[in-house]
Structures are given as structure tokens and as C-alpha cells.
């Protein structure tokens, strides 16, 4: 469907996937790729069984276990009986419905949003869904990717489509060149700080500008990953030569002539000049310091050279209550410098920052140093393949020598469904995506940071400015 009007990247992908327009204007949208994990799929498969339905396109579906798996010795069975049952159920469902499945012993296993791109399952211009809000990660490839609930997982399994209302278009333009030590994570935290955690509700965000184009694919995935933290179900970055180079020769990517033909199609996946955006936000990355969160929402951000807000800085009564609640939960008074905040734990990993580039950045800081005596720090690679690559580069040895624990891949302490979690009152510098109350453990306190900032905090025992850290 081509209208003469200039279209955004989102408009183009949307138009290429509309199967039918319903009487009320919503669309039946075709889904090219469906990723599945153990937590949000069992009830969907149960629904299929009860209705006697099949998986419509098993070859467009990929299952991997990630949320529940322990990150310690995998040769032992999973101790938690409920986690074990959920993992086993995914294996049974994948087998019964003919879906390819990476179990916890497969070296391709890892966090679902790291596995998809690694395998070349994630492709530009594709519609990709998963029962997980961080599906927005795949937007880094110029794919329309978003999280869905379990009822929708069942709908996609049964029909390979979703009923969708079209979202609005938001352009987030990040200008300038990032300074040394400032990363994709700092960019996205700054964006969320600017638009707020509901700022992107009802939108698909397209990220553009010099700072975004300069990012590696890993960095672009970090930015798109946290779109949902700004309220947007999906984030998008137009594919370019970097994208095509990343995809080429991946196991599930098209090969040879098919790849060349795909690149031709992918190359036109960019917003037309003059395309309409409902909202445009601009940010200058040139002067951006490292960013961290101080509170219990990803919008509660502060730069490393700033100060934690006080209750009196609130402009409304609702805001005052929100700041007071967050400060109280985080054990802060307000007015602190981030560099004066001591930490107990460090978590480096997750679908936000568990890729090879993230581990390299953390290892560069950790090399030849020691984790502070009062800090427990762990590194959880995003996938088995990331782990292998890191070990081939000797990063594991750097981490272990510095006193970091080197773990098996999985979601781990990003959401603490497995045994990795904070004790009440513990304060953590975490490279994950959510600092909600209780997210990393009951009464645990999370500060979101980049991998380099997390590694530096592990060594100093408190937050430090990674730009001047020696």
C-alpha cells in the first residue's frame, strides 16, 4: 500500500504488514517473527491445547529459556521446583507444537532479546513480537518490535497476526558526538528523564541523529531496549551498512543472492524527507555527562555531576508525594551528590547491557583493579555466545582477577526470578532497565547505570565519574 504522502519508517513497515483493516479502523497485522520464553508462554500453549489449535507458523517462532535459569553451575538441576516446572513446560510445549527451542544447556541460549539478533532471526523491516516488554530491543535493526501479553502470544501462535491500532510517530533526534566514557545507556536514560516514563505512551519512537548513527549495533539495541521505559512499546532506528554487516552470515539470515535482494529492500527502510511526526524531541549528546537513576522510576535520572532532587524541588503536590516516596524507598534524603552514594552490589548484564561490547567496556575499567571490599559484583553474559566470545578475549580472567563473579547467561538479577537477588536495603549499581520498588529483590535499591559506570562503582565502592576515573 503506497500513498503519495511522505512516510516515516514506522509507516512503511506498518503498511507492508497490514493483512486487513477491520470496520473500526484497527488492523490485522502480520507477524514475521515470534520469540517465546518460559514465563509468559505456558498459559498461551494451554489455551491452544484447550481449543485444539496448532501453531500457525512454527518456522517463524523461536523459543529460548532465560528468565528462570540459574546463572551458576548448569550441570545441576534447577533447585526451585516452580522454576524447574516452568522451564520443563517450555521444552514440552516446543516439542509438542514443533517450535525450535534452545534449552539451558545449549550454547546459543541466553536472554531472548540477545539471542534473536545473534541468530539472524531479527531482521530489518520485520514485525517481531514476544511476551516481554523489552522486545523493543529489536527495533535497533529497523524492525517493528514490541512486547505483548500472553493472550496475544496465543493469538500470534494461532494466527501469526495481531489486532493492532496504529500508534503515533515520535522522532527523538540525538545530536552531537558522545564524549569519552559516555554511552548509549546514558543517552537513553537522558531521553527518558526528558520525556518521562509515560512520555512515549501511544507512540512508536524513531531514534535518529548523529549520536544514534555513530552507535554500534550493540549501542543501538541498548537505546531501543529502553523505549518501553519511556512508555513507547516500540523504538526504531533506520537500518544502514552497520546493520547489514551485523546480519550477514548469521545462522538464520538470508544467504547469497537472497541476502543481496533483502539488502535492496532493507535499504529503502528510512523515513522520507518531510514525513510527519506527531512529536519531535531533540537532545544534545555532545555535552552529556554519564547518567544514573536516583529513584524508583527510570525517569528519576541525575547526571553524575548533579545532585539528587529534594522534596522541595517538586512543582506539584503529586510530584512531591512521588519524590518523597522514592527517596524514602531508596534510603536517600535528597540533595546528595551521586559520588557520595555508597553501593553494596553490582550487576552487569541483562538484555539492556549484556552484549560483548558492554562486557568489553566494563572489563576495560576493571582491568588490573580490585572490587571494593564491601561490594559484591557479578557479570552475567547475555548469552552463551557472548560468554564464549568474552572468554576468547580473556575478559572473564580480567573480571575474576578483579573480584567479579563470572556467571552463566540469563536474565538473572535484572528481575530476580532466579536465585540472583538483592537483600532488603541493599543498594545496587545495575546495568539493567528497571529500578522499580522490589524489582531486584524485596526492598532492594537499584540505580541504573552504564556498564563502565557499574564497573567503576564496583571498584570505588560508590558512584564515580567514569570520565575521570583512574
Amino acid at each position: 500500500m503506497t500513498t503519495g504522502k511522505p512516510r516515516t519508517l514506522y509507516d512503511k513497515i506498518w503498511d507492508d504488514h497490514v493483512v486487513d483493516i477491520q470496520p473500526d479502523g484497527t488492523a490485522l497485522l502480520y507477524i514475521d517473527r515470534h520469540l517465546i520464553h518460559e514465563v509468559t508462554s505456558p498459559q498461551a500453549f494451554e489455551g491452544l491445547r484447550m481449543a485444539g489449535r496448532k501453531v500457525h507458523a512454527p518456522q517463524k517462532t523461536l523459543a529460548v529459556v532465560d528468565h528462570n535459569v540459574p546463572t551458576t553451575d548448569r550441570s545441576k538441576p534447577i533447585e526451585d521446583p516452580e522454576s524447574k516446572a516452568q522451564v520443563e513446560q517450555l521444552a514440552i510445549n516446543a516439542r509438542d507444537f514443533g517450535v525450535e527451542y534452545y534449552n539451558e544447556h545449549d550454547h546459543r541460549q541466553g536472554v531472548v532479546h540477545i539471542v534473536g539478533p545473534e541468530q539472524g532471526f531479527t531482521l530489518p523491516g520485520a514485525t517481531i513480537v514476544c511476551g516481554d516488554s523489552h522486545t523493543s530491543t529489536h527495533g535497533a535493526f529497523g524492525a517493528l518490535a514490541h512486547g505483548i501479553g500472553t493472550s496475544e502470544v496465543e493469538h500470534v501462535l494461532a494466527t501469526q497476526t495481531l489486532i493492532q491500532a496504529k500508534a503515533k510517530n515520535m522522532l527523538v533526534k540525538v545530536n552531537g558526538k558522545l564524549g569519552e566514557g559516555v554511552t548509549a545507556k546514558d543517552i537513553v536514560l537522558a531521553i527518558i528523564g526528558k520525556i518521562g516514563t509515560a512520555g512515549g505512551t501511544g507512540y512508536v519512537i524513531e531514534y535518529a541523529g548523529e549520536a544514534i548513527e555513530s552507535l554500534s549495533m550493540e549501542g543501538r539495541m541498548t537505546v531501543c531496549n529502553m523505549s518501553i521505559e519511556g512508555g513507547a512499546r516500540a523504538g526504531l532506528i533506520a537500518p544502514d551498512e552497520k546493520t547489514f554487516a551485523y546480519i550477514k552470515d548469521r545462522p538464520k539470515a538470508p544467504k547469497g543472492e537472497a541476502f543481496e535482494r533483502a539488502v535492496q529492500y532493507w535499504s529503502q527502510l528510512k523515513s522520507d524527507p518531510g514525513a510527519h511526526y506527531d512529536t519531535i524531541v531533540e537532545l544534545d549528546a555532545g555535552n552529556l555527562p554519564p547518567v544514573l537513576t536516583w529513584g524508583t522510576s527510570p525517569e528519576d535520572v541525575v547526571t553524575i555531576d548533579g545532585v539528587v532532587p529534594t522534596v522541595d524541588s517538586a512543582k506539584t503536590e503529586a510530584q512531591r508525594a512521588k519524590i518523597a516516596r522514592a527517596l524514602d524507598y531508596m534510603g536517600l534524603k535528597g540533595g546528595e551528590k551521586p559520588t557520595d552514594i555508597k553501593i553494596d552490589r553490582v550487576f552487569i548484564g541483562s538484555c539492556t547491557n549484556g552484549r560483548i561490547e558492554d562486557l568489553r567496556a566494563a572489563a576495560k575499567i576493571a582491568e588490573g583493579k580490585k572490587v571494593a571490599a564491601h561490594v559484591n559484583a557479578m557479570v552475567v553474559p547475555g548469552s552463551g555466545l557472548v560468554k564464549e566470545q568474552a572468554e576468547a578475549e580473556g575478559l572473564d580472567k580480567i573480571f575474576v582477577a578483579a573480584g567479579f563473579e563470572w556467571r552463566e547467561p540469563g536474565c538473572s538479577m535484572c528481575l530476580a526470578m532466579n536465585p540472583d537477588r538483592l537483600a532488603p536495603g541493599e543498594r545496587c549499581a545495575s546495568t539493567s532497565n528497571r529500578n522499580f520498588e522490589g524489582r531486584q529483590g524485596f526492598k532492594g535499591r537499584t540505580h541504573l547505570v552504564s556498564p563502565a559506570m557499574a564497573a567503576a562503582a564496583a571498584i570505588a565502592g560508590h558512584f564515580v565519574d567514569v570520565r575521570t576515573f583512574k
Partner: protein, 201 residues
């Protein structure tokens, strides 16, 4: 899915901004492979103390609100993860409607798949309904989906908007999958077309 037509029930006030899905149902309850039984984990970290006993300060533990069927909350309810365990937990507890100024997209969508009605109202109307909800034993609201209105204990009426398709499905208790499967031939045609145009998919 149960139909939603007219609901008269106790409304519990939760005057917190950004109530996220981890707050609604923490991860330790996500290990189930069933849809039911999650009510015990609803708002668990607010509802229970560290020793597992009830926190008497939390609204749903107070006598007037133990059987609440409606929640009135501040902006951006349901932000965070895609876990449908959030509406399942609300439903299992007995909550059939949530009133706020705004909802996160995925949560909002998940509600309709489970017979829960999320109602968006203006800031002024929320203040009024929050006030109604704070009246303890008298905090009863009537929600009439067909008429698209919430009626308060004093006879005050708040109108709300809702997408017509979603309204229809809730009123009738319809299952989307059955409706979509009727279009199987169209899906087949689409697949034939993309196998030519984008054979790598």
C-alpha cells in the same frame, strides 16, 4: 472471558503515580503455569510485611476495602513489563475495573483480554472519584459500560470514552482468536504475497 456490562462495587483508592507491574504482581508469582490463583500475590509487597503478615495500613487490607472490585489510581497505571499476570492477579482478587488518568499501553491492552475495564478519566474527574473512593464503607461506584459512565455514591456521573471494538468485545465476552481465524483465507493470501516479495521472511 466473562462479559462486562454493569458493575456496582467498592472502589479502593490507590493514590500512587506510576503503579508498575512489579508492584501489581512481583516476580516470585510469575512462575506459575496457570492463569488463576494469582490474587494472593496482588500488590504483595505493599500488602504484606517482611514476615508475611498483612500490612494493616494498605488499603486492600482495611475492612471496608477487602472486597473491592474497582481500583482508583494516579497517572500511568500498569507501566513496566508485559506480564499478563498483572490483570490475572487483579481479576483473581476480584477487581474488574481500574480508573486512572492514563495507563501504560501493554497493560491497557491486556486488561481487555481478561474482561477487565480500564477507564481513562480527566484529572478533575479522577480527583472526584478518588474522593468517592476514600469514603470507606460508602465508597461504592457503579460502572455502566453500555452507557460509558461511572456513577458515584452522591449521584454524580462521570462519562468516559472507549474504543467501540473493545467495548463490543467486553460487553459480549468475545475471544479475539476465533474472530481472527475467520479471516484465515486473507492471512493465507498475504503469506503467498510475501513469499514472493520478501522470501527471506
Amino acid at each position: 472471558m466473562d462479559k462486562f456490562t454493569v458493575l456496582t462495587g467498592v472502589a479502593a483508592p490507590l493514590p500512587i503515580t506510576n503503579i508498575d507491574t512489579d508492584m501489581i504482581i512481583p516476580k516470585q508469582y510469575l512462575k506459575t503455569i496457570a492463569r488463576t490463583g494469582l490474587g494472593k500475590g496482588l500488590f504483595s509487597e505493599l500488602r504484606y510485611k517482611e514476615d508475611g503478615s498483612e500490612n494493616p495500613d494498605f488499603v486492600l487490607n482495611q475492612p471496608a476495602y477487602r472486597k473491592a472490585q474497582i481500583v482508583v489510581a494516579e497517572d500511568n497505571f500498569g507501566c513496566g513489563s508485559s506480564r499478563e499476570h498483572a490483570p490475572w492477579a487483579l481479576l483473581d482478587f476480584g477487581i474488574r475495573a481500574i480508573i486512572s488518568t492514563s495507563f501504560a499501553d501493554i497493560f491497557y491492552n491486556n486488561c481487555f483480554k481478561n474482561g477487565i475495564l480500564p477507564i481513562k478519566v480527566s484529572r478533575e474527574d479522577l480527583a472526584k472519584l478518588m474522593d468517592d473512593a476514600q469514603r470507606g464503607a460508602n465508597a461504592t461506584l457503579t460502572i455502566d459500560l453500555a452507557a460509558q459512565e461511572v456513577r458515584g455514591p452522591d449521584g454524580g456521573v462521570v462519562k468516559f470514552d472507549i474504543d467501540p471494538h473493545r467495548k463490543h468485545c467486553l460487553l459480549e465476552g468475545l475471544d479475539d482468536i476465533g474472530l481472527t481465524l475467520v479471516k484465515a483465507p486473507k492471512i493465507g493470501e498475504f503469506e503467498a504475497k510475501i513469499s514472493q516479495e520478501r522470501p527471506w521472511i
